[in-house]
């Protein structure tokens, strides 16, 4: 979906149409969650601090996000997808991979299906979507970003290699901003430059991601569309209006955020988490995490909150103060079964 949250706001409130809109808080520490295309002309982007956005675009209208409404529309959109295939892998509220190799309406062209889906979304929700069509996830995702808004971009198998060769590293899905910068510094500007590097070289430079980069610059991506992606972690975080400095305040906040995060954990499909992590972002944006892995799995609120609180110690406080705290759970697995070969225990 194009500028999803902002488009929804413009859809529901005609007064916002044609105007620069930012969804997000406009307090000192708010960030832009989504910007309308009108706002983007002024350089307003998502994840930008609201204060900076307001400076760049003085007429910018801030709207508080309404997640229940976005979710509602997201479900309507997903229902459209399911009319064509069950192989839908949602990436977020407004993005999903669809495998239409075999589809419910027996249409042989993915491009035609994409067109139909776009039309249906427009009819049913009034929102505009962009689609990318290709023969693997990486290419489809890259294509979907090509001509937003209202885009429909196809990368055919015979064009793929040439397409990727010309693609600047910044545009590769899966190469982040920092990695892209590193690559540019090392003289790798496009897929073509990336292709010149050996697998060993890329692995040496970028660790495990090296293999992925090696593949995608050759337009190779064997990942399948996974309709039910397992949740890997559930978390909640809060940025504070003012930095906090006192141990008692930190513990109180961890308690509060842990409870919110636990709520989410219970509502999610995930269960049997073993690792609790707290994230602390200091006044100077330095970030640390502390985690603890426990056996058996953590499934009750008391334990959850208590472990989260125990992870923060006075030593972690400093004069810069804390601007953000996050609490999350991960490592979802069944408790280990006892070994078939068992060490016997004395019965005291």
């Amino acid at each position: 979906m194009d500028a999803f949250y902002a488009s929804v706001e413009q859809l529901d409130n005609p007064e916002l149409r044609g105007k620069p809109v930012a969804v997000g808080g406009n307090s000192q520490r708010g960030v832009v969650a989504a910007a309308s295309y009108e706002a983007r002309k002024f350089g307003v982007k998502s994840a930008m601090p609201s204060a900076k956005a307001a400076k760049q675009c003085p007429n910018l209208i801030f709207v508080q996000p309404r997640f229940p409404r976005y979710k509602e529309l997201s479900h309507q959109i997903r229902d459209v997808f399911y009319e064509y295939t069950d192989l839908v892998e949602p990436l977020s509220l407004d993005e999903a991979y669809l495998d239409v190799t075999e589809n419910k309406i027996g249409l042989n062209s993915a491009t035609l299906i994409a067109k139909e889906i776009k039309t249906k979304i427009k009819e049913r929700t009034g929102l505009i979507a962009s689609a990318g069509i290709s023969y693997n996830k990486f290419l489809a995702k890259t294509a979907s970003d090509m001509d937003k808004p209202d885009g429909l971009c196809v990368i055919l198998p015979e064009e793929a290699e040439a397409f990727v060769a010309k693609l600047p590293v910044q545009r590769f899905h899966g190469i982040g901003k920092v990695t892209a910068e590193k690559m540019v510094k090392a003289g790798m500007f496009t897929g073509k430059d990336l292709r010149k590097k050996s697998l060993e070289d890329l692995t040496l430079r970028y660790g495990k991601s090296g293999q992925y980069y090696y593949n995608i610059c050759r337009a190779i991506d064997h990942r399948v569309v996974q309709p039910t992606r397992d949740t890997k972690s559930v978390s909640a975080e809060r940025t504070f209006e003012d930095n906090i400095y006192e141990l008692d305040d930190v513990i109180e906040e961890i308690d509060r955020i842990a409870r919110i995060s636990f709520e989410r954990y219970k509502r999610s499909k995930a269960e049997d988490g073993h690792t609790i992590t707290i994230k602390i972002k200091y006044g100077d944006f330095q970030q640390i995490t502390r985690s603890k892995t426990d056996d058996p799995s953590i499934n009750d609120e008391g334990t959850y909150v208590q472990i989260a609180k125990s992870l923060f110690t006075e030593q972690l406080l400093n004069e810069k103060g804390i601007r953000l705290i996050g609490v999350g759970i991960s490592n979802f697995r069944k408790d280990e079964e006892p070994e078939p070969v068992t060490q016997l225990t004395l019965e005291f």
Binding site: E339, V341, L344, T345, L346
Partner: protein, 374 residues
């Protein structure tokens, strides 16, 4: 406050008690040694709140006083100084310390001695004496079997039970249990306590090689060990020790007598081929033959060895954790040992065949169930 002391003498005494100090202690002042001078007598204290060690030495001093000195800097300085008298001058207002040697001058910041936690002193104590050799044998024989499980604190220490005729030391991690008994140490009343592992580890490292008398005093909450010029005070584990007597079987009638050295080296070789998580080895006793084997199905590793033994009882096959057996046998001095078994799912008992008259060692180990028996 000012005093003069030999650098190597001070280093020797500090090294004896330094082990107590932890990196990153709960209370930062515990990174310091507490120096107290009284009539030319220097008392140095190190502590981690649970365990404290104190040493005394004679120094040249005109006045009394006290100061907390950062342990790490002081020790490193002393280690790197050639033997010589060094002078400590302490400013009692700023707690700054100046050390003067032939080589030069070193300044460091100390802390107020009154901030150093108070070390408990013995009161309503009960005393018993034993030789350093007895104590270190008792520690060596038991400490390795203590548990790391913080959820069962009682088992993280060694249980010491004084009786009118003997003294018993017991350690267990619930998979194995060691009972070490001395008849040459006794008390006129029954007493028992659990001494934490850390204190015993420190004691083991500090006890002198030469035969020395160790005076052990204790009350309900602390134990005090006194020898040479060193004193150790530790908080006892305030828990109930498991009822160990009940789990020691008395009817293990399947006896295997085997050369300890042969069995130990065989187990060390076989263990290499055992599963890396269970460390399981099989002992198969048929007549007077003891077959030791292990396999790791994940890697297609396997090994077999044969030993001769004296065997009295039915043929039997039983599995054990090789690491446990190796550790236990490594702590037995005897040339020959007896393994007493009853069934593949019941505890095995190892005892030495030749031992001092004053001591009695019993090592119990629980089996690892073999696959074909589950």
């Amino acid at each position: 406050m000012k005093f003069i002391v030999s650098s190597s003498y001070l280093l020797k005494q500090l090294s004896a008690i330094n082990g107590v100090i932890t990196t990153n202690p709960v209370v930062p002042i515990l990174e310091n040694f507490l120096f107290e001078i009284n009539d030319g007598n220097l008392t140095v204290t190190a502590s981690d709140l649970q365990t404290s060690m104190i040493t005394e030495l004679q120094v040249e001093a005109k006045e009394d006083g006290s100061i907390a000195i950062p342990a790490k800097i002081l020790l490193e300085t002393l280690r790197n100084l050639p033997e010589q008298p060094v002078t400590f001058s302490i400013d009692s207002n700023t707690y700054s310390i100046e050390i003067n040697s032939d080589n030069g001058r070193y300044k460091l910041a100390g802390e107020n001695a009154t901030d150093f936690p108070k070390i408990p002193t013995v009161s309503d104590g009960y005393a018993v004496n034993m030789s350093s050799e007895v104590l270190s044998r008792a520690i060596n024989n038991t400490i390795f079997a203590t548990s790391n499980d913080e959820l069962r604190p009682a088992m993280t220490g060694v249980f010491v039970k004084l009786d009118e005729t003997n003294t018993t030391f017991v350690a267990t991690d619930s998979h194995r249990l060691i009972r070490y008994r001395r008849v040459d140490v006794a008390a006129d009343m029954a007493h028992s306590m659990i001494i934490p592992r850390k204190a015993l580890t420190l004691l083991k490292a500090t006890l002198p090689q030469e035969l020395t008398n160790v005076n052990v005093e204790f009350n309900a909450s602390n134990a005090f060990f006194n020898f040479n010029q060193v004193k150790m005070i530790c908080r006892l584990i305030d828990e109930r020790f498991p009822d160990y007597d009940n789990v020691i079987p008395l009817d293990n009638n399947n006896n295997v007598v085997v050369k300890k050295g042969e069995l130990l080296s065989s187990l060390k070789r076989i263990a290499i081929y055992a599963n890396k998580t269970t460390h399981q080895v099989r002992l198969k006793i048929t007549g007077s033959e003891l077959m030791i084997s292990a396999e790791d199905l994940d890697f297609s590793n396997e090994a077999n060895e044969r030993l001769t033994c004296e065997h009295d009882g039915e043929d039997l096959e039983i599995g054990f954790n090789a690491k446990f057996l190796v550790e236990m046998l490594g702590n037995i001095d005897s040339d020959e040992i007896t393994i007493k078994l009853s069934a593949p799912n019941k505890a095995g008992i190892i005892t030495p065949n030749d031992k001092d008259e004053e001591e009695d060692i019993l090592m119990l180990v629980m089996p690892v169930m073999l696959n074909n028996q589950v």
